[in-house]
C-alpha cells in the first residue's frame, strides 16, 4: 500500500513538473525568435568571424578566423602561439583538419559526419532537421543563471546533447555534447556568453569550451555577415587534396 502511494505521489510530482515546463521544441523556437527570428537568419548567407583563442591555465593564446557560408561550408583558421597554424574545414563533402602538431587529417566516418553536420549555416533555424526529439527535463542553475534543461536527440543517431536555455532571455547558456576527434569520443561543455547583435542576428561573442579538465576560451571580436568569401577559401588545402587523391 505504501509503495503504491509513493509511486502515485511520484507520478503526480512528475506530471506536475512536466506540466509546468515549456516543451523542448518551444525553447528551441524561442531561441530562434529572441536571437533575431527566422527572417533575420534567412537574410544571412555567409559570415566572416575574427577573434581570439585562449587556454588560460596553460598560458596558450592565439588568433581565430572563421569563414562560413550556406549551405554547409566552413573553414576555421587558428594561429596558436607555440603550436602554429591549425585549419579545420569542410566543403560540405569532405572534412579535414591540418596542423603542424598533428599533420593533415582527412576525416572519415562519424568524425566527418559530425563536421559536416556542424557546418550547417544558420544552424538554429534548422534545429528540427538536426534533432528528432527535444525534451525539457527540468530547471537548473547554470553559470549563475536559472535555465531550462533540454535533452535533444540528434537525427543522425549520435549521442544525445543537453542544452540549457536561460529562463528569462531564452538564450542558450550551455551545451553538453560529445565531440568526435582523434578516434575518440570526448565529453565537452560549451558555455555561451556576451550575446550581442552582430549583423542580422544576436549571437554569443564568448564561448568557453571545457574539455578534459581544461578550458578553451573563444572571444569573437568582429562578425561580418554576408561578407564576400571566394569559393577557393573552402577548398581543401594541398595536403588534404593529395590525401583525397590517395584515398580515391
Amino acid at each position: 500500500m505504501k509503495t503504491l502511494f509513493v509511486a502515485a505521489a511520484m507520478s503526480v510530482v512528475a506530471f506536475g513538473q512536466a506540466a509546468a515546463l515549456p516543451t523542448g521544441e518551444s525553447l528551441f523556437d524561442k531561441y530562434v525568435e529572441v536571437t533575431g527570428g527566422k527572417a533575420a537568419y534567412a537574410k544571412r548567407t555567409s559570415e566572416v568571424t575574427k577573434g581570439t583563442i585562449q587556454m588560460p591555465a596553460a598560458g596558450v593564446s592565439g588568433t581565430l578566423e572563421i569563414y562560413w557560408a550556406a549551405p554547409n561550408v566552413r573553414v576555421a583558421l587558428m594561429d596558436v602561439q607555440g603550436v602554429g597554424k591549425v585549419e579545420e574545414g569542410t566543403n560540405g563533402v569532405e572534412a579535414w583538419e591540418v596542423s603542424a602538431v598533428m599533420g593533415p587529417k582527412l576525416k572519415d566516418g562519424k568524425e566527418k559526419a559530425q563536421a559536416i553536420r556542424e557546418a550547417l549555416f544558420n544552424m538554429p533555424i534548422y534545429w528540427r532537421k538536426l534533432y528528432s526529439k527535444a525534451q525539457t527535463t527540468g530547471v537548473e542553475t547554470v553559470e549563475g543563471i536559472e535555465c531550462y534543461r533540454v535533452v535533444a536527440t540528434p537525427t543522425d543517431g549520435s549521442k544525445v546533447e543537453t542544452f540549457w536555455f536561460d529562463k528569462t532571455t531564452g538564450y542558450n547558456v550551455k551545451v553538453s555534447r560529445t565531440v568526435l576527434a582523434m578516434g575518440s569520443e570526448i565529453p565537452a561543455e560549451i558555455v555561451m556568453k556576451d550575446y550581442q547583435k552582430s549583423g542580422f542576428v544576436i549571437q554569443p561573442m564568448t564561448m568557453i569550451q571545457r574539455v578534459g579538465g581544461q578550458e578553451v576560451i573563444l572571444k569573437l571580436t568582429t562578425v561580418t555577415a554576408n561578407a564576400p568569401i571566394p569559393k577557393t577559401r573552402f577548398a581543401p588545402p594541398p595536403d588534404i587534396q593529395q590525401l583525397m587523391k590517395k584515398a580515391a
Binding site: M55, A57, A58, G59, V60, Q81, G82, V83, G84, K85, S99, A100, V101, M102, G103, P104, K105, D108, M182, G183, S184, E185, I186, P187, V211, G212, G213, Q214, D239, Q242, L243, K245, K246
Partner: protein, 403 residues
C-alpha cells in the same frame, strides 16, 4: 613574509592542492587520501617563514604522488631560463652521461677541445662524485636514475654564454686534463609553449652513408621541426636505405607532436601510438599519415634521458612494429602535463592523464624497453664509436640485404 605575501603563498598552496584533487586522473590521486595530505601540510604552510619554505612544502605535497611531471618551478628558474637574459643557457658543446658511477663525454661538437669517452671529474672545481652520490641516494635502482643524472649534469654544464667553464677530465690514459670550455650561445632557436619557460630547440638531419639520421632536442616548435623532419625523410632522404631517429637525451615537449613525427613514417590511417586516460575521458594519439611517407626501415635511439613525448613516440612506433629501438630503457616519465603560473609567480607542472602505449604498456614508471639493448661504455667511446648508432646502422644494413 608580509601578511600580503603570506596570503599569496597560501593561495598558491591551495591552488596546487585543489588542482590535484580535481584534475588528477585518479579520483584518489596516487592512491593517497588527498584530504589528509592537505590537513597535514596546511598548518606547516601557515607557519612557513619564507617563499622558499613554502615552495618546499608544495614540492613535498607533489612528491608524495611518486609520479613524474608534478613539480613546482621556482619563479627564479623562469628568470634563469629566459633566453633574452641569456643566463644559464650557454652550450658547452658536448653531452655527458653517467655510465656506471662516473660521468663521461658521450657526444662532442666539432672544434670543442674534448674527446669522447673522457671521464668528467670536476666542473667549475666542484667534484662531480658528490653530486652523483647525492642523486644515487634517492634514485639508485629506479628507472628515473638516468634522467636525474642527466639533468644534474646538464645543469652543471651550462652557464652564461660567452663565459668560460673549467672542467677537469681524465683521458683514456688516466691522465688529468683541465680545459676551459667556452660556453656558446645555445644551439637552435628559442621556442616557447604556454607557460613553459622558453628553450632553445634544434633539429639536425644528415646522412651516414645512405642512411638518414635525424636528431632534435625537444618536441617543440612544430612548424619548424615537423616540416624539417618531413622534408628530409620524403625529400633528400626519400631513397635512403633507412632512417635513424635519435631521441637520446630528448626530454619531450608537446605530447601530440609524437603523432606528427610518426605521420612521416606510417602509411596506414587510423593507427594510434597510444591513449591518454583522463578522469572523464580518453584521447587516442592517432597518427595522421602524410600524403608521402618514408617507407624504409626506421630505427629509434633511446636512453634513460629520453622522456615523455620521446617515450610516447618511441613506444608507439615500437608497438606498431614500425621501428626497431636501440639503446637503453627510457626515462619512465611519460605523463601528459600542463604548466600553470601560480599566484606567487612559481610555475606549477601537473599531469592530467595517464598514458598507455598502443601495445598496452603504461609508460610511466616502466619506460620503453629497446628491442636491442646497447649500452655506451667508456672503452667504446674512447675509440670514437657510438655503439648505439652503430647497432642501428648495422640493422638497417641487414634490412637492405633482406630486400
Amino acid at each position: 613574509m608580509s601578511p600580503g605575501e603570506r596570503q599569496v603563498q597560501l593561495e598558491s598552496f591551495e591552488h596546487v592542492w585543489k588542482t590535484i584533487r580535481d584534475k588528477h586522473w585518479e579520483a584518489k590521486p596516487g592512491g593517497l587520501d588527498w584530504q589528509k595530505v592537505h590537513d597535514e601540510l596546511r598548518p606547516k604552510a601557515e607557519q612557513a617563514k619564507t617563499a622558499d619554505e613554502m615552495t618546499a612544502i608544495m614540492s613535498d605535497m607533489l612528491a608524495r604522488l611518486k609520479q613524474s611531471h608534478f613539480k613546482v618551478i621556482s619563479a627564479s628558474a623562469y628568470k634563469d631560463m629566459d633566453m633574452e637574459a641569456s643566463w644559464g643557457s650557454g652550450d658547452a658543446g658536448f653531452d655527458a652521461r653517467v655510465l656506471g658511477d662516473a660521468a663521461y663525454v658521450v657526444r662532442v661538437d666539432p672544434n670543442v677541445p674534448v674527446s669522447l669517452g673522457w671521464k668528467i671529474r670536476k666542473i667549475r672545481n666542484r667534484d662531480l662524485d658528490t653530486a652523483i652520490r647525492a642523486v644515487d641516494s634517492v634514485y639508485k635502482g629506479t628507472n628515473y636514475r638516468d634522467l636525474r643524472m642527466t639533468s644534474m649534469l646538464q645543469s652543471r654544464l651550462t652557464g652564461i654564454p660567452g663565459s668560460g667553464m673549467t672542467v677537469e677530465f681524465e683521458d683514456g690514459n688516466g691522465q688529468t686534463v683541465i680545459k676551459t670550455i667556452l660556453l656558446k650561445q645555445p644551439r637552435g632557436k628559442p621556442a616557447a609553449f604556454g607557460n613553459l619557460p622558453p628553450v632553445p630547440v634544434f633539429v639536425e638531419t644528415s646522412k651516414v652513408g645512405n642512411t638518414g639520421y635525424i636528431r632534435f632536442n625537444m618536441f617543440l616548435d612544430p612548424m619548424r621541426l615537423i616540416s624539417t623532419i618531413g622534408g628530409f625523410a620524403t625529400g633528400e632522404c626519400a631513397t635512403c636505405d633507412g632512417m635513424v631517429i635519435d631521441v637520446r637525451g630528448n626530454p619531450g615537449g608537446i605530447g601530440i607532436m609524437a603523432t606528427a613525427v610518426a605521420g612521416w613514417f606510417i602509411d596506414k590511417a587510423n593507427l594510434k601510438l597510444g591513449t591518454m586516460h583522463m578522469r572523464d575521458s580518453t584521447l587516442n594519439f592517432v597518427v595522421n599519415p602524410r600524403p608521402k611517407t618514408f617507407a624504409g626501415p626506421v630505427a629509434v635511439l633511446i636512453d634513460g634521458a629520453s622522456a615523455s613525448t620521446s617515450e610516447i613516440f618511441a613506444g608507439g612506433m615500437q608497438d606498431l612494429k614500425r621501428a626497431r629501438l636501440f639503446g637503453t630503457r627510457s626515462a619512465a616519465a611519460a605523463l601528459p602535463s600542463i604548466v600553470e603560473v601560480l599566484p606567487n609567480g612559481n610555475g606549477f607542472q601537473y599531469a592530467v592523464a595517464n598514458y598507455i602505449s598502443s601495445g598496452g604498456k603504461t609508460l610511466e614508471a616502466n619506460g620503453v624497453v629497446p628491442d636491442e639493448e646497447v649500452r655506451l661504455t667508456p672503452a667504446g667511446l674512447l675509440t670514437g664509436k657510438d655503439a648505439v648508432l652503430d647497432a642501428a646502422l648495422s640493422w638497417i644494413g641487414k634490412q637492405k640485404g633482406k630486400k
